[in-house]
């Protein structure tokens, strides 16, 4: 199988007050076409950096990123991004936010076609009733649905979800997980989702890849989720595979954090900082 999304030996660091900090080191990722991969990691471990690299908003210091066989050189609508903080333009209505994307990607289509496409994706996330409202008049969950509609309406080759549900309350989160699951099963896009919620990853993904604790975070071994779809949230809790996957992911993450702590202690960094990382 030729990987559809590929990161090879990717490293990325940032300049900071105390010198250069390496956020990601030697990251290798392969995602097949139509596959739903979840990357699970601690907050601050470089998850958003990873998505930004895939989106082309950042360029790697070394290594290569490619999508559909072509190297990623910059951002583009073939990779639809659902940002952590929704990133809707507050002066545009729901319709206008989605339409802006449609208008840009389907520039040759007629006005009627563009409108119809916009309406269809707003309908897909069940927001037709709110299409003339501005983002400020919507709840967090609704905003995130607009963001999903905007990303999907661009008909991207890959959908990048950067902690899409991180800012939502547990109930809304559950509802939206079901919606993402429903939409994905209907159109089987290639998805890379970043999350810090292991259960969410198990519910949605084909494969889960843990991201070790940062700095110098890297991807751990992939763990396949062999649970038939549609997955039922309630039944899932008692599924033997669920428990198995869950414990493997958590073990890896805890292991990487412990290792990080040990390294930090050796490097005799301030104790408080290593504590904070351990608890994160």
């Amino acid at each position: 199988m030729n990987p559809f999304v590929e990161m090879r030996a990717v490293s990325k660091g940032f300049a900071s007050a105390s010198g250069r900090v390496s956020v990601l080191e030697d990251v290798n990722l392969e995602v097949g076409e139509g596959e739903f991969v979840a990357i699970v990691g601690y907050s601050g471990s470089g998850k958003t950096t990873l998505v930004s690299l895939l989106a082309g908003l950042l360029t790697p210091d070394s290594g290569t990123v490619s999508v559909a066989g072509k190297p990623v050189l910059g951002p583009g609508p073939d990779r639809g991004v659902v940002f952590q903080n929704y990133s809707l333009l507050p002066w545009l209505t729901v319709f206008e936010n989605v339409h802006l994307a449609v208008d840009q990607v389907f520039a040759q289509a007629t006005d009627a076609e563009k409108r119809a496409r916009t309406e269809r994706y707003i309908q897909l996330v069940n927001l037709s009733h709110a299409k003339d409202r501005k983002p400020g008049q919507l709840s967090g969950g609704m905003r995130q649905r607009v963001s999903v509609a905007r990303a999907l309406a661009m008909d991207p080759k890959v959908l990048l979800l950067d902690e899409p549900l991180g800012a939502l309350d547990a109930l809304t989160r559950g509802t939206l997980q079901n919606e993402i699951s429903r939409i994905w099963q209907a159109d089987r896009k290639t998805v890379v989702m970043i999350t810090n919620d292991v259960d969410e990853a198990i519910l949605l993904a084909d494969r889960i890849i843990p991201l070790s604790a940062g700095p110098k975070a890297t991807l751990g071994p992939a763990i396949s989720v062999e649970i038939e779809r549609p997955r039922d949230r309630k039944a899932l809790n008692h599924h033997p595979e669920f428990k198995h996957v869950r414990s493997r992911v958590i073990e890896y993450l805890l292991g990487s954090a412990a290792q990080r702590r040990a390294t930090r202690a050796r490097e005799s960094l301030p104790l408080t900082l290593s504590n904070a990382l351990g608890e994160a």
Binding site: P75, S87, L89, W91, L100, Q104
Partner: protein, 260 residues
């Protein structure tokens, strides 16, 4: 909306009136004691009355109703202000988007910014050889800085998220400007526009005094030379009230854009 204002207004009017009354009392006291040349409030009213009750009357080139003079001044300020915005907004946008541009031009802007209208006007006369464009030039040169600086600040304060959206969608430069940069910076820009208008109005008196153009400022200076001091006070009050009104109107416009 209107109801709330009026309900609050009747109650809230007492203290402002008290403040005005206090100032008028100090004025009356001053004119009756140690500054006898200063006309008293009553005398000011008497002498100014023909200019107030027939505010649009034109009895001669230099003898017109106060609102007619104000109108001339407003037109002049409007022209200078428009020029200030037309120059200041693009300048601010460039400062906001380009570090290179900021490094090159920010120092000279900081140097030109505090220059007084009294200094610009003679230069305007030298350049344009005529008082009218010199006045407009002065108003523009003095009032554009808040627009420049606030527009630049507005552009710099645009959240990275909005710019990321533009990048992911690969919006053209023009579309990024009109669909993302301008709308996002608009609240800041309006703050700049409001401050600029305040300055433009402030400059009018100086501009008209030195050029002798008909308007409230010109009238004020002419009446000083004609020893009719009551009219100086009439002009001061008019300038103040009009400036206050302009600021209020801009404040309303600004608020509309902030909530939107």
């Amino acid at each position: 909306m209107l109801k709330i204002t009026s309900a609050r207004g009747s109650k809230g009017l007492f203290l402002p009136l008290l403040g005005i009354l206090f100032v008028v009392a100090v004025w009356a006291l001053t004119s009756s004691t140690w500054a006898p040349a200063l006309p008293s409030p009553a005398r000011t009213w008497e002498v100014s009355k023909p200019y107030i009750v027939a505010p649009f009357e034109k009895r001669g080139e230099l003898d017109q109703g106060i609102l007619r003079f104000t109108w001339y001044s407003l037109i002049r300020v409007g022209k200078g202000y428009l020029l200030a915005i037309l120059l200041g907004t693009p300048l601010g946008l460039l400062l906001g988007v380009s570090k290179w541009f900021t490094r090159s031009f920010d120092p000279i802007i900081q140097i030109l910014r505090p220059v007084s209208p009294l200094a610009w006007l003679p230069l305007g006369l030298v350049i344009f050889q005529k008082p009218e464009p010199a006045g407009i030039f002065t108003i523009a040169m003095c009032s554009m800085w808040p627009t420049v600086l606030n527009t630049a600040l507005g552009v710099r304060s645009i959240p990275q998220d909005y710019l990321n959206v533009a990048r992911v969608l690969q919006l053209s430069r023009r579309k990024t400007l009109f669909r993302v940069l301008l709308p996002a910076a608009l609240p800041y820009m309006f703050t700049g526009f409001r401050l600029s208008l305040g300055i433009a109005w402030l400059v009018i008196v100086a501009a008209e005094m030195l050029t002798g153009a008909p308007g409230v400022g010109g009238f004020l200076w002419q009446e000083y030379n004609a020893l009719i001091y009551e009219h100086i006070i009439l002009c001061i009050i008019t300038i103040g009230v009009v400036g206050f009104g302009l600021d209020r109107v801009m404040g309303l416009v600004e608020r509309r854009f902030k909530t939107g």
